[in-house]
């Protein structure tokens, strides 16, 4: 396992909002180099880096920026937005970046602003991170005072300001268009697409939107070159990834690993294995909307291609480890309650589907389930995936189908009135 630190090298070593300490530790070298380059050249480096969006959808950032750059200057990208909503349960990597090295993110956004000629940037940070918003604001203030933000940045003639906007408790606002609505001060219900935000985003103007970690990779790529970044990872997945290890594992936390590391190495190597000498039951990868799978798949490499081949996706980089004292039906109910709650309520399949899935899981956990309930879960999952308006409803059924696939027997047992791990009440009461 290589130990190249692209993102976490300064974590814990500098005062997070101090420009001097940031610069002393190699900060702003990416921006300094970028302003000597042509925008096309910078974009080419990002493409060479095989950097994929770290927010969950894994869209190639170089391609996204190329498309944004191609939009004629008259309508040219006006806004740079950083998605710091980090609402996917089990994810806390963006929090670490913002709390420990926020200027790295700001530098990444400023390089983007240089490419696109953007004047205004926004960091949309979840309301629950109010303490971190303060760090961000202070870092922005210091960067402005030091001439890295504001008017005529580093003598380039570039004017760029960043505003921190707080969310107010809505997971769906992590979705691009909902986020933009929320910055506009509205309810965060997703918009219909097309138009895509690259053409008509904030205030219906062209908008570039990326995740915190995605922006944080940019300075390093510019400084060291796209190919160097790629060489750290695997053939088609460049660089490193911040993985969030949580649940029943000895050493929970954020780990920066190069692409190509296996899940087993992460959980048993870096994470020290399952806590309390128990055994692994399943891993929930990528957040609540990701897949759940058992031990057999642990040798899969953290790499977009390998994961896809195994029907998995990296999502936000959350790795929730669940030991065998837990019940999959009970766990799934918790997960679906999350989606029920967080559905924006706009479209039928998600608003009603999640809620009815919870209803069915309540039946199963109280011993009132029937065989047809399992079929119904599958049917609902298909309908939600195929017809939901946005990614939330489309991916909410992923844990349902994957747990049903890998733990069919445990669901069957619940139908027969038995919870093998003894977590469910099976009390039979109607609620």
């Amino acid at each position: 396992m290589g130990n190249t630190k692209i993102l976490s090298s300064r974590f814990g070593k500098i005062k997070p909002d101090s420009v001097e300490e940031f610069v002393a530790a190699g900060g702003y070298e990416g921006l300094k180099k970028a302003i000597t380059m042509k925008p096309e050249e910078i974009i080419q480096e990002i493409k060479n880096a095989y950097l994929f969006g770290r927010g969950g959808a894994a869209y190639p950032t170089g391609v996204k920026w190329e498309q944004a750059y191609a939009i004629p200057l008259e309508k040219g990208p006006k806004y740079m937005i950083c998605n710091a909503d980090e609402g996917e349960p089990g994810t806390f990597k963006d929090r670490h970046i913002m709390a420990e090295d926020p200027l790295m993110l700001i530098e990444g956004m400023t390089i983007g602003a240089f490419i696109f000629g953007a004047k205004e940037g926004y960091i949309y940070c979840r309301g629950e991170y109010s303490g971190i918003q303060k760090i961000l604001k202070s870092a922005i203030k210091n960067a402005t005072e030091a001439g890295y933000l504001g008017e005529n940045i580093m003598g380039t003639g570039l004017n760029f300001n960043i505003k921190v906007v707080s969310g107010a408790g809505a997971y769906v606002c992590g979705e691009n268009t909902a986020l933009v609505e929320s910055i506009e001060g509205k309810t965060g219900r997703p918009r219909r697409k097309p138009p895509y935000i690259k053409n008509a985003g904030l205030n219906m103007m062209p908008t570039v939107l990326n995740n915190v970690e995605t922006y944080a990779c940019i300075p390093w790529i510019v400084k060291e070159g796209g190919e160097t970044f790629l060489s750290v990872g695997t053939e088609f997945s460049g660089g490193t990834k911040l993985m969030c290890l949580s649940g029943n594992v000895v050493q929970r936390g954020v780990y920066e690993v190069p692409f190509g590391t296996t899940l087993r190495e992460l959980i048993y190597g870096l994470g020290g294995g399952i806590a309390g000498g128990k055994t692994l039951k399943f891993v929930h990868l990528g957040g609540s909307s990701g897949a759940c799978f058992p031990e057999e798949l642990l040798d899969t490499k953290i790499c977009y291609n390998d994961l896809r081949k195994n029907g998995l996706s990296l999502g936000s980089g959350a790795v929730l480890v669940v030991d065998d004292t837990h019940c999959v039906v009970d766990y799934l109910k918790t997960v679906m309650e999350f989606f029920e709650d967080e559905s924006c309520g706009k479209c039928t399949p998600c608003r009603e589907g999640n809620r009815r899935m919870v209803e069915i899981l309540e039946k199963l956990t109280s011993g009132r389930g029937a065989k047809e309930d399992l079929e119904r879960l599958q049917r609902l999952a298909r309908t939600m995936r195929n017809t939901s308006f946005c990614g939330l409803g489309q991916s909410a059924p992923v844990p349902v189908t994957t747990l049903l696939k890998h733990f069919a027997a445990e669901f069957e047992a619940h139908v027969q009135g038995r919870c093998p791990s003894g977590k469910c009440s099976m009390s039979g009461v109607r609620r």
Partner: protein
């Protein structure tokens, strides 16, 4: 026009570029069910009942908002599509308070029809919907236990009427369409226009049922019950009995009302003619004496309340005239009992209106005269149809009858009050004759007709240039008043009707099962009104013999102190 080619259910078809899959399917004569979609009004693409399969595309696509593309192959009735739609429908129905038998939308409900088409007869899910609010405090009744959250009412109320009384609130399972703080509509800025009722696909929005009040009055031997019918009712009531849209059923309606037991059947057009006399005089008075201009009509109670809430700086511009309904009521409780030798306290006035806002107007305190309300009960076109059905009257077989005398003679001018532009035209007819002192042959003012949102014209009468404007739908009225506020426009006289299209499209008119036909239906109803005007014996308000009589024998002259006491009013700022 650029065309694209696609295949729908094996049918090759060529449609205009930019068409949606739904539009393309319509051209291919393929039906796709819809629920939330209302073209041009509300296109959220959110209910997902209209999903179809497009070969090679991920997931299913909502046909209503997905643009057709060159060469695509669409399947609208594959097993996957049918099963999926069924799932969606079951999800919607699971929350729904299914009480079709006692629901006012029974048989006119889009959800019920879908459930029938898909053969959904059982209920798999257990829990009921959580958002149950029943607001029956005002003329518009909201029952959220039937709401399917399509959001149509929100679009109409916010975007078309610009009232903003309701919105989608909360999220997840608590999502609901509601007022701020779940207060009753009557406590907020709702103008009772009922346009939300008209677009609601289900029975979640309704008018307050006042038929019981009317039945009770009819059964009370002490009371002398008179009824007035608004002009827009006669060209729409037939729809409730399956007659072609726009059929004039005036004669049958009068017969039906007699059969229901009303003592006298009168016509609101009499009140309309009275309004023209008073308002025309007011207009000339304001012009000649430097009064506040523009004069703005006040016969639409939805509009009046909108003005009170949002444009109270224009309250002095509002005509002080009561609306035709109220003018009628005022004389029905003064002049009429005097002539008929009745005790005014025993006269019970019922109105049949195309309008829900009239229910609110009738209850306004400031309109009471000597403690008596002008109008005691207001029912809508829909409610009248229901009463006729309940009484077992075979409407379509009825022969024609005539309105009763004294307050029952109408002119073409009074009849066209039903259409946007009608009040203006009626007023111009009278004002022109007054100014010229002649019986002019110019009767029709086509420049003020039509369904554009706002219209303006300059009319030259005897050398006097009259700048007039017309707006229908309060959203359009707001736009018009904004231009005046900004000093960008200058008018003498403005007509505003709260409902798009005017009273013919009022909130109390029959519900269309296919709401995409609204415009078409409005045109047919409006045409029927204009043809009634064309064939009327008298076409100008001041030529109405009963109007001449009431001024000669009771009111003296327009604007007299008696007229002021009975026929005028004042307004309340509500911001």
């Amino acid at each position: 026009m650029e065309k694209i080619n696609l295949t729908i259910d094996g049918i090759d078809i060529s449609v205009a570029k930019g068409s949606t899959i739904l539009q393309a399917a319509k051209e291919a004569k393929v039906d796709i069910p819809t629920l939330c979609f209302l073209q041009g009004v509300h296109e959220p693409g959110s209910c997902r009942i209209c999903v179809v399969e497009v070969e090679g595309w991920r997931g299913l696509q909502p046909a209503c908002v997905t643009k057709a593309e060159e060469g695509i192959v669409v399947k609208t009735s594959s097993r996957l599509v049918r099963e999926t739609r069924r799932d969606i429908l079951e999800l919607i129905l699971a929350n729904h308070n299914r009480e079709c038998l006692s629901c006012k939308r029974n048989q006119k409900c889009e959800l019920q029809k879908l459930a029938e088409d898909f053969g959904i007869d059982s209920n798999y899910y257990e829990k009921k919907g959580t958002c149950v609010e029943l607001d029956q405090s005002g003329p518009v009744v909201r029952d959220t236990s039937k709401c399917v959250l399509c959001g149509r009412c929100v679009s109409v109320c916010s975007n078309i009427q610009k009232v903003n009384a309701i919105d989608l609130a909360y999220r997840g399972p608590n999502t609901s369409v509601t007022t701020p703080y779940e207060q009753s509509l009557s406590l907020r800025s709702c103008i009772n226009c009922g346009q939300c009722i008209k677009v609601c696909p289900v029975g979640a929005l309704q008018e307050r049922d006042d038929t019981e009040k009317v039945w009770k009055a009819l059964e009370d031997p002490e009371l002398h019950v008179v009824v007035q019918t608004a002009p827009a009712v006669r060209v729409a009531l037939g729809e409730e009995f399956g007659l072609p849209v726009g059929t004039n059923v005036k004669g049958k309606m009068v017969t039906a009302l007699k059969r229901l037991g009303f003592n006298k059947i009168f016509d609101t057009t009499f009140g309309a003619d009275l309004t023209i006399m008073e308002e025309g005089t007011e207009l000339l008075h304001r012009i000649n004496n430097g009064g506040k201009l523009p004069l703005i009509t006040s016969c639409s109670p939805g509009w009046v309340k909108f003005c009170e809430h949002n444009y109270s700086d224009f309250l002095d511009n509002l005509s002080s005239c009561r609306s035709p309904q109220q003018m009628f009521g005022a004389v029905a409780k003064s002049y009429y009992p005097q002539k008929a030798g009745l005790d005014a306290n025993k006269v019970f006035v019922v109105s049949v209106m195309p309008c829900t806002a009239k229910k609110f107007e009738a209850d306004r305190e400031e309109l009471k005269i000597n403690g008596l309300k002008d109008v005691d009960a207001v029912i809508t076109t829909r409610e009248l149809a229901k009463m006729i059905k309940q009484a077992g009257i075979n409407f379509n077989e009825l022969s024609d009858s005539y309105y009763d005398e004294l307050l029952g003679t109408s002119t073409g001018a009074g009849v066209i009050f039903a259409n946007t532009g009608g009040v203006m035209e009626a007023a111009l007819r009278t004002v022109a004759d007054i100014l010229t002192g002649e019986d002019l042959q110019t009767i029709e003012y086509h420049e003020v007709r039509g369904l554009e949102g706002t219209k303006e014209a300059t009319v030259n009468i005897n050398g006097m240039e009259l700048n007039v404007a017309i707006a229908h739908g309060t959203g359009n009225a707001a736009k018009l008043l904004d231009t005046i506020r900004e000093g960008k426009a200058d008018y003498h006289f403005i007509e505003v009707m709260a409902c798009p299209g005017g009273c013919i499209n009022g909130g109390g008119q029959p519900i269309l099962m296919d709401k995409s036909k609204t415009q078409e239906v409005n045109q047919l109803r409006a045409a029927s009104i204009y043809s009634l005007d064309r064939t009327a014996v008298k076409r100008k308000s001041h030529d109405n013999p009963e109007i001449k009589k009431i001024y000669a024998e009771f009111l003296d002259k327009p604007g007299s102190s008696k007229a002021h006491q009975l026929l005028h009013t004042h307004y309340i700022a509500r911001n």
